[in-house]
Amino acid sequence: MRDVFIYDHVRTPRGRGRADGSLHEIPAIELVTQLLQEIRDRNGLNTALLDDVVIGCAQPVGEQGGVLARGAVVNAGYAHSVGGQQLHRFCASGLEAVNNVAAQVASGMASAGIGGGVESMSRVIMGYDSGAWVADPAVALQNYYAPQGLGADMIATLEGYSREDVDSYAVESQRRAAKSWDEGNFDHSIVPVKDVMGEVVLDNDEYRRPATTMESLAGLKAAFPPFAKMGFGRVAKERYPEIEEINHVHTGGNSSGIVDGSGIVMLGNAEFGKAAGLKPRARIKGWASIGSDPTIMLTAPADVARKALKNVGMEKGDIDLYELNEAFASVVLRFMDHLDVDHAITNVAGGAIALGHPLGATGAMILGTVLDELERRDLNTAMTLLCAGNGLGTATIIERV
């Protein structure tokens, strides 16, 4: 494979994904448009040098449908020769979009492009995308579909994680996120979002609750027992008969937050860097995607990490920082246990429990975050990974140059 370099990345701040969220008035395409404009402007980029823009999205319907990427390319004033592509791999969409562009460059079929993701969860409600896997009776029943939150609780049950275990993970995520903001570690990559008048509507991750403590979390009610009662509990037990009763440990406080946001990463080969007058910040070493059990849906990370390492001929100890999307606390705990990875090098800047998880955008956002952390800490290698709907999982390994 030919060298693929990361030249830059930017992201929007995450807005609360509700009617009172600061980004609720901003259409999804506008989030991407403003990022495309910023990455162009701050790099003095001649956009005609780009081949393609791939934007991942987990609910690519309505305003997020119709190949939003191409719409944003035109909307942002990019050269019309730049392509656009929509990509859907549920929560891994944003990262897979980066891998897609990397693959185009690595194969020599393109010299540069932008990969990223967007999700306005306040505007395109989770579930609007539906699909046969969740809603066609003939499919959903036979595939033992159960909602993800139940899967998170099943992981906790099978692995023996207590409410204290998941809550203390959540407190640490909040602490790390607060520290990142306090120390300005996100500043270089955050692009404040502006309204139609050009006024900034949001310049920080507003979902955060830095004052979170074990005590405040202990007061929250388990979120997913209603799904179990609906009948999904039986589905889960048919698939995992060793479970007597699901231990419902996940709450709004130790699960990822519903937010709006977007993130993009600019990739290209060495020639592109020269032509654009840009210095590469890192190299894409390789990636992998797998499927795992569709009922729990969240157990792919450890296995996809192993596959990605194998793909590039590395050992897990060769990775300096791991960045795994905090879909639910138990997902990260299981990953660290199964791959035997230290919490000290995992999600060092805080994760989606504190910052929020704009489904299809997260992968591109956290790839950028971990690259910033490598530079800040002067480390070399990092792996970014996400679990995704229906048991999917994606991982990408980067290395500074």
Binding site: A135, A138, F232, V235
Partner: protein
């Protein structure tokens, strides 16, 4: 036209009377369909006819298809045949609603299944306001779906959610609610139904269904594009899985029919419905459910096992000895059937307590509007609680339900027989004690019989009738007449240790204990039983009773020659639990821990007492162990002559101890797998887990000859 009468009035209104020439009920049959097609063609082509009213010449409006025909589907039809079969009725309904003339039905009585589907194909429905005139689509409870338009017209008429509720529950709806739901357009007193229909016709109504009007659009037609619709189906799937598990294809097929059908124009939708129907009709589950719980059950209730030549008898006065839980329940069902009951216990206060059970149950029924107060009062007046055996004078039949002890039972028998008329039948309600032994205490062993009721008597429909060695045909006939009076379902078995139901049921709980002894994780044991379709896991069930009883029976059986009531494995588990003082829920501790808030969870100490092995078996293997051990034991009962018919075996299994309905019963289960395959797999299980699974030579010979327990049905 044998089953239909047409009367054309001078006013242009034609009355189509449904009047089956051969039966007391209008039913769907091939001949009737031909009649309907002919009638529809005539009405359509006759220009003098401007409107049609369909009425019934019977007490009811119409029922569905003949279930005997449905049972044959699995063996005699390919899915294509079954599809063609369903499309005949579908095409007739479609011809009716598209013939261009308005059609009303005036329903004088119940309309269920295919009968209600006919009503749904009419442009206007008028229903009698008599509460007995219920309507509904009960097919789901027969393992089927309404295959001639029911899954399509119902949700289009009353909405997807309400439609699915009725289709998935199969419940019958009384007139008032039927009107509220929009199942019918009007309700009226029975003598005004036709007038109402005429009045509707007089308004010159359109003869077009709303779904045939150009531009008809409901949100459901866009399928999952409507997020709320997608969400509802997602939840619907969970509800179906939660309620039925994965053993019943009908509810899932109904959900699919509605989901897929509502996205299609009517003719395509009806075709999709027909395809799902064809799949169900040619699936063994529908066959199993219908054969056992409808055909065999009705036959048993109508006297399939009643000896011929004995005049029909009636119990006017019943004696019940022992006013404990069983006696009190037997008194209740008899009193409800209008039989005078003398309820005897050691003192009048104890006997009155037994009557108190009826007071409580009837009181609740009145409270819920299920029973009128005067009926409750008169039923209660039938029960006389007493300690005086002299009151047994004049009883036609006595049921003895005292403590399960040979001595006490013998003494009670003699005391009662001193007073009873010579003709009286003496029945003992025992679940395990040998009848022929107990009969030795009787002066009239030929009039002595076992009537094994199940608890709670007022809710369990089965009575296991046990013939002692000397029990006469007349005694059996009288007992079956009594069971019919109290509206229970009988099976007839011969005397042997544990009879049939207790003997085979024990295999379930002991298999659970055996699994624990084998190192299977407790949760897997309970979940496998539930996944197989049992209502409750074996360990929970052991806790609900007491372990003492099975252990006592086992101890009694030990060392006795030829005693069948022994077990290979699991006994150690029960002994140990008793040692630990964890004998039952009542005792406060068992296989489960019981919290003060009423919740329970498997006792954590089980893991230490019965170490869990590293290699846990597949769920399918555990399910098979439960099903095979009971099926094999049943086959042995048939071989030994404890059972005489497959129908008795299956009814006993389904109604007696909750063997999974989808199997149709223990022997139906073997036939469903195929007897040869069963014998092969059973031998394998015997090799892995013990001799209780080993097929006998008799069964193996039967398997080699390929002789199923139910004779094959010939096509045509």
């Amino acid at each position: 036209m044998r089953h239909i009468k047409l009367d054309k009035g001078a006013d242009g209104v034609a009355i189509l009377t449904l009047d089956n020439a051969d039966e007391s009920m209008n039913v769907v049959s091939a001949e009737w369909l031909e009649d309907m097609n002919a009638a529809i063609a005539e009405l359509r082509d006759d220009e003098s006819v401007t409107g049609v009213i369909i009425v019934s010449g019977k007490k009811a409006f119409m029922a569905g298809a003949d279930l005997k025909l449905m049972v044959a589907g699995y063996e005699t039809m390919t899915p294509k045949d079954a599809f063609a079969f369903s499309q005949k009725a579908t095409a007739m309904h479609r011809a009716l609603e598209t013939m261009g003339k308005p059609v009303a039905c005036a329903m004088n009585g119940l309309a269920l299944g295919g009968g209600f589907e006919l009503a749904l194909a009419c442009h206007h429905r008028v229903l009698s306001d008599d509460p007995r005139a219920v309507v509904g689509l009960p097919e789901v409870n027969r393992g089927l779906l309404p295959g001639s338009g029911g899954t399509q017209r119902l949700p289009r008429l009353i909405g997807r959610k309400k439609g699915l509720d009725l289709l998935l529950s199969g419940r019958s709806v009384a007139p008032k609610e039927a009107l509220e739901l929009g199942l019918v357009d009007e309700i009226a007193p029975i003598d005004q139904l036709v007038d109402k229909a005429r009045q509707w016709l007089a308004t010159n109504p359109p003869a077009e269904r709303i779904w045939d009007v150009k531009g008809y659009a409901i949100p459901e037609m866009r399928g999952m594009i409507v997020p709320e619709v997608a969400m509802d189906y997602s939840i619907g799937v969970a509800q179906v899985a939660g309620k039925h598990g994965y053993n019943y294809p009908a509810p899932a097929a109904i959900l699919s029919c509605v989901f897929e059908g509502l996205q299609l124009p009517m003719d395509k939708a009806l075709s999709v419905e027909g395809k799902y129907f064809a799949k169900l009709l040619t699936d063994p589950v529908a066959r199993n459910i219908i054969r056992t719980t409808f055909i065999s059950k009705q036959a048993a209730e109508k006297g399939a096992r009643r000896p011929e030549g004995v005049p029909k008898s009636e119990v006017k006065k019943l004696g019940v000895l022992g006013a404990g839980m069983m006696g009190a329940g037997i008194a209740l069902v008899a009193a409800k059937a209008g039989i005078d009951v003398v309820l005897i216990d050691r003192d009048t206060a104890t006997a009155a307590k037994g009557k108190g059970y009826s007071e409580k149950v009837f009181g609740k029924a009145v409270e819920r509007g299920k029973m009128p107060q005067d009926k409750a009062d008169s039923a209660l007046a039938h029960i006389t609680p007493t300690d005086d055996f002299a009151l047994l004078d004049g009883c036609d039949l006595v049921v003895e339900a005292v403590f399960e002890d040979m001595g006490i039972k013998a003494e009670t028998t003699q005391k009662a027989e001193a007073v009873l008329p010579e003709s009286a039948v003496f029945a003992t309600n025992t679940s395990t004690l040998p009848i022929s032994e107990l009969a030795k205490a009787s002066k009239r062993p030929d009039q002595y019989i076992g009537l094994h009721f199940f608890s709670p008597v007022d809710r369990m429909g089965l009575v296991e009738v046990i013939m002692g060695e000397q029990t006469s045909d007349e005694t059996l006939a009288k007992s079956l007449d009594f069971i019919a009076q109290i509206r229970k379902t009988p099976i007839v078995v011969n005397d042997a240790q544990g009879f049939y139901t207790s003997r085979v049921f024990r295999m379930f709980i002991f298999e659970g204990a055996a699994m624990l002894e084998d190192g299977v994780e407790p949760a897997r044991i309970e979940n496998a039983a539930k996944a197989a379709g049992f209502p409750i896991g074996p360990l929970a069930l052991l806790d609900e009773g007491t372990i003492d009883l099975p252990v006592k029976i086992l101890k009694d059986a030990e060392g006795k020659d030829g005693n069948l009531y022994t077990i290979e494995r699991g006994g150690k588990v029960l002994d140990r639990m008793l040692e630990l003082g964890r004998g039952s829920r009542k005792a406060g501790a068992g296989f489960y821990e019981y919290a003060e808030d009423g919740s329970k969870h498997l006792w954590e100490g089980l893991g230490t007492e019965f170490p869990v092995s590293d290699d846990q078996p597949d769920q399918e293997e555990l399910k098979k162990r439960f099903l095979y051990s009971q099926a094999n034991e049943t086959a042995q009962c048939l071989e030994e002559g404890v059972l005489e018919t497959a129908q008795d075996a299956d009814l006993g299994a389904i109604l007696g101890w909750g063997f999974p309905l989808w199997t149709g019963g223990t022997l139906s289960y073997i036939d469903t797998i195929g007897i040869a395959e069963f014998a092969k797999e059973a031998s394998k299980l015997a090799g892995n887990y013990g001799a209780r699974f080993a097929p006998s030579k008799w069964l193996q010979d039967r398997a080699a000859a390929g002789t199923p327990f139910y004779p094959p049905i010939k096509a045509g």
